[in-house]
């Protein structure tokens, strides 16, 4: 069963709010969980709001601590992170999700 994690607002409310602003909502799959995110903020802070612990240090793209696997889907970086981004990984602190994506922590 896929469980939808929501804090205070429902998916519908978020979608409507985002649609009014012309912004998309995307699904982030993580194991059996599904989290909804917008393009307004980096992935890290939105995962944290959903109660998911992600390792971080700098939150500014230069330490690579927040590196997590991107199994499929698209993310972009508004500015080039200083940390090396391994292929197949993303830096959660500065990645903006641009489509539905699936992510994973350590194997």
């Amino acid at each position: 069963m896929t469980q939808i994690l929501m804090t205070s607002t429902s998916k519908k409310e978020i979608s409507e709010k985002q649609e009014r602003k012309g912004q998309a909502v995307h699904r982030v799959l993580l194991g059996k969980k599904q989290i909804l995110v917008t393009e307004e903020e980096p992935l890290l802070i939105q995962l944290e709001r959903a109660g998911i612990h992600v390792e971080y240090q700098c939150r500014e793209g230069y330490c690579s601590s927040c590196s997590i696997k991107l199994l499929w889907g698209n993310v972009i970086y508004p500015f080039e992170p200083l940390a090396w981004v391994q292929s197949g990984y993303l830096l959660a602190c500065c990645a903006i999700v641009k489509s539905d994506i699936e992510i994973a922590f350590f194997d």
């Binding site: 980096p42 240090q57 700098c58 939150r59 230069y62 993310v75 508004p78 391994q86 194997d107």
Partner: protein
């Protein structure tokens, strides 16, 4: 092949490999083979800080009130960090400057090493503030067995590379019988292997070796003890994270073959050895935690928790250089540490002025800059 402080040859430095190409002549940064190193320099300069700016008067009183076993934890960590930064304040310069071939990388090495000297000076600032006789602490660093064991591991690769490069610069290629050292073979593959292992070992130093100590410093600060020290450690941790990124870039560039195809072959050959360097360092750090807590733990931290933390960050760091993780620990047992490690000024993003859409992997470039107007970290 002797070193020249100003190479008279005319060549295009953007065509040189990072190391073992031409000696750098003109320090120019208008064109770069690897712009990342110029960016690291700028970031490091923006981090500049002076230890004396941090007031430690409360720490002095706090220290006096610590129990004996807590003083042991605090001072031992300080000694270990002093050792690490003593090494780092000189070794990148001594070992890497004679063989570097790109101006931006040369200056990154100097900037990096300079920032380590700030760390060293901060330890003197701390030690002076909490004890009456700093000499007792500093002297112990060269005699204390737990520390000297670690000194061997952090300096062995540097020392070997320096020795080989010295031979290369004076004698050239060949096999040389060195009194007291035996036969040493100097060839380009051997030199490159020594270099790769040195960078791997420094990467491990920056990545793992400070973190037990950081955790203890923040553990004290969680109890509102030694808070001036914690402020300094935060600044140090911020620098170390950048140094780590520097060594990760060097390793990944080498392994990719994009910089020097021969280096990619060597990197592949060294993979097991590099894994071993990670694992050995992690084991040493776990032993260090046991030594720290031999007479008693501190609230919220003990040798077992710190051991798990070491395993966890070792996994994180191994993954960052494309290695399979080694330890079973998949979660950070002390997640509160990240709130201490994060720098206070994450709002300030000097690069924001020059935002560019940067694409990695499968990305979507259908956005325009206005999509990021209200983006901030």
């Amino acid at each position: 092949m002797s070193y020249s402080t100003f190479n008279r040859k005319h060549f295009d430095s953007t065509k040189e490999p990072m190391f073992f190409g031409e000696n750098v002549n003109v320090a120019r940064y208008d064109q770069q083979k690897h712009p990342i190193f110029e960016k690291l320099i700028e970031k490091q300069l923006s981090f500049f800080w002076r230890p004396e700016e941090v007031d430690l008067s409360t720490d002095r009183k706090d220290f006096q009130r610590l129990e004996a076993h807590e003083q042991h934890i605090f001072l031992s960590n300080l000694k270990y960090q002093t050792l690490l930064d003593s090494v780092q304040g000189r070794s990148p310069n001594v070992a890497l400057l004679p063989i570097v071939s790109l101006p931006e990388l040369e200056t990154w090495i100097e900037t990096w090493s300079f920032s380590e000297t700030i760390h060293s000076r901060s330890y003197t600032h701390i030690i002076r503030n909490i004890v009456n006789d700093p000499t007792k602490i500093f002297d112990d660093i060269v005699t204390n067995e737990e520390i000297t064991k670690r000194a061997d591991s952090v300096s062995i690769y540097y020392d070997r590379l320096i020795e080989m490069v010295n031979l290369y610069n004076t004698m050239g290629m060949g096999t040389f019988d060195i009194p007291g050292r035996g036969e040493i073979e100097i060839s380009m593959p051997k030199l490159k292997k020594a270099l790769y292992l040195t960078i791997a070992s420094v990467n491990v130093l920056e990545a793992i070796r400070f973190y037990v100590s950081f955790a203890c410093s923040f553990g004290f600060a969680e109890r509102t003890l030694m808070e001036g020290n914690a402020k300094i450690i935060k600044l140090i941790a911020r620098d170390e994270a950048l140094h780590l990124t520097g060594t990760q870039h060097m390793l990944n560039l080498m392994a990719s073959g994009k910089d020097d195809p021969e280096m990619a072959i060597i990197a592949a050959e060294c993979q097991d050895e590099v894994r071993q360097i990670f694992i050995e360092a992690a084991e040493q750090e776990k032993e260090w935690a046991t030594y720290l807590f031999k007479d008693g733990s501190m609230i919220g931290l003990n040798a077992q928790i710190l051991g798990q933390y070491v395993e966890y960050i070792t996994n994180v760091r191994m993954q960052a250089v494309g290695l399979e993780t080694h330890f079973a620990t998949k979660n950070n047992p002390i997640p509160w540490i990240n709130a201490w490690l994060v720098s206070d000024n994450v709002q300030v993003a000097p690069q924001e002025a020059e935002i560019s859409s940067y694409l990695v992997g499968q990305t979507d470039n259908s956005l325009d800059d206005s999509d990021f107007d209200d983006f901030d970290l």
